[in-house]
Amino acid sequence: MTVWERLRPYSMVAPAIIVFAMFFIYPIFYMMYLSLFDWNFVSPTKTFVGIQNFVDLLSEPDFRQVLSNTTLYTVLTVTLTTGLSLFMAIWLNRSGFFYGLVQGAIFSPHIISLVSISLLWSWLMDPEYGLLNWVIGLFGFGKLEWLSHPSTSLISLVIVAVWKGLGYNTLVFIAGLQSIPQDIYEAASLDRSRPWTTFTRLILPMLSPTIFFLVIINLIGSFQVFETIAIMTQGGPVNSTNTLVYYIYEAGFRFFKIGYASAAGVILLFIVGILTIVYFRLLSSRVHYR
């Protein structure tokens, strides 16, 4: 083996690895470092404060509300999206022109910019002249405030997230269903097992890798929600839709509390990290995987 043959693989992976190291790996450590300082971005000196940023953050009522908002938003979005899309996948897992049309229609929001979706739904949810209030009015309901009232603002954002994510999740489930060998269905129908039993004993276990995949990417995606909040609510009214990434954005770019924002970033890193580890653990141990 010549020297070049030994070095060749390194030269081939180097460009990619350099990009990752510079813009993904190093920033993580830099953020951890910054989280231990008090710094306003302009001042030439950073003051070391140890874990004071974390202590301040966790004792601040606003930040606690941010954490609970983020958790509530995530739990609602993930449960609704995953549950509904599993149901829809079983319903829509058929071929033919009409089903293709339906699948295309429900998938379309997934490739649309979140900017468009946020603006569009702000208009649909307008308390005065929005289409949604008119539609629910047809069924005899009174007008809702949607995004403008703290009691409905978070759930309104959940509705938008579910509307956007439903099609993608459904089609991933359909792909999962179609990868289940056909003879398993036939065996089940020959055994005359009831549909519900077939579903819980056969389909669910065979789908478990897909379910875990979707739950994890939905969890990670929901924890870092930003665009809809930045455009539709700016965290309001009265902090009711302020979530982690939006909080970090405001702390860093509006109030220039870099150390403080970094500490919040480290907390988000911690959450995403745990979810990732749990995912790989479950994947390697419990989940049926072909």
């Binding site: 790996i25 900017v115 603006l119 208009w123 002249y129 990434v245 990732t276």
Partner: protein
């Protein structure tokens, strides 16, 4: 089931003693009526589903062609009698839109080209060569795959600011010059190419890079196409990164311009805002209608593997 039972026009024939033999008569009639009703209900539910997903877009288009007072009329007029095309001109004039579109195109295309240049060799090396440290380096790729940009924008902002790259195209391109997701996908594809094929071309004394470009890359073309669709759409649509990495118009992209219409025009001018929104959405929706199968495959099936 025995092949002999699959007779006639290919449909399954009732097996003796099976469930499919039913005595004709009233119960069968009732059953077929019930089946018909179920089918009708199913079609109605499917239509409702399409409505839930299509109506917002139709509403957007409809609003974009109305005068402001018309947007407040209920029950709504879905097709405005006198479409107000000037809303599009008004939306276009709220900012330098040609500049935004150029920026979006330059940035998305540059990212895509750089990604191709970096992920193809890296994926090939991870798939085909054994070298010291390859396990560690690949785990670095997998870690990157799990790091969302929303997690690291603050330190990267400081980094880019130190490099004087804020408000430049480069600052919006370089962090995405490679893709962990792309390497992961392509490595799988390269691995599935049979070893004999590579050996055969090596016997022909072909240079290694020629083997890669002439033989290996064409074999993974479908994966490259799906990745390209995925990457382009993701960066064309991106709002977050250009928002946090720019403080002036120099490098700002179309999604930022659209979101800014509201600041320029004021909150209630939904007709103009929706016109801007149509400008942003239309190309992607058009592409989706033309290449629906490929786009769905790009997003869905790659995620499952």
């Amino acid at each position: 089931m025995e092949p002999a039972n699959r007779a006639f026009d290919g449909h399954t024939v009732a097996v003796p003693g099976g469930r499919m033999l039913e005595a004709p008569g009233r119960p069968a009639l009732v059953r077929s009526a019930a089946v018909l009703l179920l089918k009708a209900l199913n079609v109605a539910a499917l239509l409702l589903l399409v409505l839930i997903f299509a109506m917002p877009f139709v509403w957007m288009l409809s609003t974009s062609l109305k005068t402001l007072p018309e947007t407040m009329i209920f029950p709504p007029e879905w097709i405005p009698r006198n479409p107000v095309w000037s809303n599009y001109a008004s939306a276009w004039q709220t900012g330098p839109f040609l500049h935004y579109i150029t920026n979006s195109a330059v940035i998305s295309v540059s990212i895509l080209l750089l990604q191709m240049l970096t992920i193809i060799p890296a994926a090939y090396a991870f798939a085909r060569y054994r070298f010291v440290g390859s396990g560690f380096l690949f785990s670095l790729v997998m870690v990157t795959l799990m790091i969302p940009t929303q997690l690291i924008f603050l330190p990267v902002y400081l980094e880019l600011s130190a490099f004087k790259l804020l408000n430049t195209h480069l600052g919006l391109i370089l962090p995405f010059a490679s893709s962990a997701f792309g390497i992961f996908l392509l490595r799988q594809a390269f691995r599935q190419i049979p070893e004999e094929l590579v050996e055969a071309s090596r016997l022909d004394q072909a240079k290694e890079w020629k083997i890669i470009i002439r033989i290996m890359v064409p074999m993974v073309k479908p994966v490259l196409v799906t990745f390209a669709l995925f990457s382009f759409i993701a960066h064309w649509n991106d709002y977050f990164w250009p928002l946090v990495m720019t403080t002036n118009e120099t490098a700002r992209t179309l999604p930022i311009g659209i979101a800014k219409i509201r600041e320029v025009e004021g909150g209630g001018t939904w007709n103009i805002l929706m016109a801007g929104n149509v400008i942003l959405v239309a190309p992607i929706l058009a592409a989706f209608f033309l290449a629906q199968k490929h786009i769905i495959k790009a997003f869905v099936y790659n995620g499952v593997k």
